[in-house]
């Protein structure tokens, strides 16, 4: 029996070893440039402990004041995710190479979407606070654009993994491309779309806590106030509230995603 010889690259696992070496090299180089000083972390550890000590005694009396901004945060995330999704569905269809076969169109729209996604959410928040003023409206606008960028990419990559056979079948019935999307594309991606939307909603809730920092409304604004007043006992309550909400959303969306499988 003659077994074909493996190539040298296969025998010495050149790809795996090579990628590991490159990764280690990158880690060393980045560390050198950033001059990470682990000593500082150890020397100033007592400050961290002091902060932690304050936070160990949450000011439970402030809890009722957390509820309303927390609701605002969830509402911001909900509206931002919904509007972002509604915009993202047609956008993703146009960007999917198996639906739109013209590479110029998909290429051009992808550049636009990449730019949208490159804008950091903090920059967007700063921008919309300047335009729409301080408050949840700016937060909703930020989350809409942020969700749009993220969902579009998740969606079009998802669309490109579907079985293209049914798409062809619709074309052979004399159906239009739009009918093909409705009858052959969307049913195939529906359950994954829902799980991506839930995932984005989770991220939006977390993101919107930070956005409040820039005046974009919600629980983040409360967080920022407590920190600037050194009321770490109140900060603790806010963080706990965020934790509870994030865990709850995580649980609900996990449940929903499992049911969709």
């Amino acid at each position: 029996m003659r077994i074909p010889k493996r190539t040298i690259a296969q025998r010495f696992h050149v790809r795996l070893v090579g990628s590991l070496l490159i990764l280690i090299g990158l880690l060393i180089v980045s560390n050198k440039f950033l001059r990470l000083d682990f000593n500082a972390l150890i020397q100033n550890f007592d400050q961290f402990l002091a902060l932690l000590k304050d936070m160990m005694h949450p000011d439970w009396k402030s809890a009722p004041f957390v509820v309303q901004p927390m609701m605002e945060t969830i509402q911001m995330a909900l509206i931002g995710t919904t509007v972002g999704t509604l915009l993202a569905i047609p956008a993703a269809v146009i960007a999917a190479r198996n639906v739109i076969t013209n590479k110029w169109i998909t290429g051009a729209v992808r550049i636009v979407f990449n730019i949208v996604r490159t804008l950091p959410d903090l920059l967007l928040a700063a921008l919309f606070v300047a335009i729409a003023g301080i408050g949840p409206y700016a937060g909703v606008l930020t989350l809409t654009i942020f969700s749009f960028g993220m969902i579009t990419k998740l969606f079009y990559e998802c669309i490109e993994t579907i079985d293209n056979g049914p798409l062809e079948a619709i074309l052979t019935t004399g159906g239009k491309r739009s009918a093909m999307v409705v009858f052959a594309v969307l049913p195939q991606v529906y359950s994954r779309f829902v799980s991506y939307i839930l995932y984005t909603f989770e991220i939006n809730v977390r993101a919107s806590t930070v956005l409040g920092y820039l005046g974009a409304g919600g629980i983040g604004q409360q967080l920022q106030t407590s920190l600037s007043e050194f009321r770490y006992d109140q900060t603790a309550v806010i963080i706990l509230a965020i934790l509870v909400v994030v865990l709850a959303i995580d649980g609900v969306s996990n449940f929903a995603r499992e049911r969709l499988q």
């Binding site: 079948a169 619709i170 052979t172 019935t173 004399g174 159906g175 409705v182 009858f183 049913p187 195939q188």
Partner: protein, 260 residues
């Protein structure tokens, strides 16, 4: 039963296909199919059977020549005109190409999409006559009891019969079948072939099928076309086909037909 005086419903004129990577799929194919024929195309894998079939409804763009469907060139058709020509050419695929997540009914109704504006089909506003048509088609293939089930709950053979029902409701002049039985067991294969035969004989549809099985080809075809390396090397009515001819198509021996 085919009348040579009839105008061909499929007219392939000097069609060649070269793939983007330079490999040649089809070379100077000429083929006229008349209404009511049941043409079976045989040949080895890679001989160009699928390429030829997919050129007939323009899932493939040919490099040279043209294909006329009922006298109109589908090769040069655009937009609405192309869709109307495609409506006349239903296709059945080896992999069924159904939307597995949708119900049987929705997959069958998809055969009517060529007759509706998208807003209407999207909202599921199919005419009652079309729903009746779908039920009738499912009854024909013995699957009426599965009408509201999801397709992924059906067996392979049942799925292919749903695809046949979809072709029924499309009400085309021509039915193309690209290896329709290749992923099915012999018994189910006969069921599918009988469906095609009934479309051909009872409804007068012209059928063109690619088959791997010589036995099925001989049983169902009214005419056999042999393809080898992208060329037509054999083309005879079924009464003139001998077993030696068929083995020659596969083995590359001398042939009485045109070509090599």
């Amino acid at each position: 039963m085919t009348n040579p005086e009839l105008k061909p419903v499929i007219d392939v004129q000097h069609v060649s296909k070269v793939y983007d990577n330079g490999t040649s799929g089809l070379t100077d194919i000429n083929l006229q199919v008349r209404p009511g024929e049941f043409v079976v195309i045989v040949g080895l894998s890679g001989a160009g059977k699928s390429t030829l079939m997919r050129s007939l409804n323009r899932l493939h763009q040919v490099t040279e020549g043209r294909v006329l469907i009922d006298g109109q060139s589908i090769t040069e058709a655009k937009g609405r005109n192309l869709r109307q020509l495609r409506r006349e050419v239903a296709m059945i695929f080896q992999n069924f190409n159904l939307v597995k997540q949708s119900t049987v009914l929705r997959n069958v109704l998809a055969g009517r999409l060529g007759y509706y504006p998208t807003w209407r089909s999207s909202l599921g506003l199919f005419k009652d006559t079309d729903k009746q048509r779908a039920f009738k088609a499912l009854e024909r293939v013995n699957l009426l009891d599965k009408v509201y089930q999801r397709v992924d709950q059906l067996s392979g053979g049942q799925q292919q019969r749903v695809a046949v029902a979809r072709a029924f409701v499309q009400d085309p002049k021509i039915v193309l079948a690209d290896e329709p039985t290749a992923s099915l067991d012999p018994k189910t294969a006969h069921l599918i072939m009988n469906d095609l035969k009934s479309m051909n004989q009872d409804l007068g549809k012209t059928v063109v099928a690619n088959l791997h099985s010589v036995a099925l080809a001989k049983e169902y075809a009214t005419r056999i076309v042999g393809l080898r390396a992208g060329r037509i090397v054999y083309d005879e009515a079924i009464r003139d086909v001998t077993d030696t001819d068929l083995t020659d198509i596969y083995n590359g021996g001398s042939l009485t037909g045109d070509g090599q």
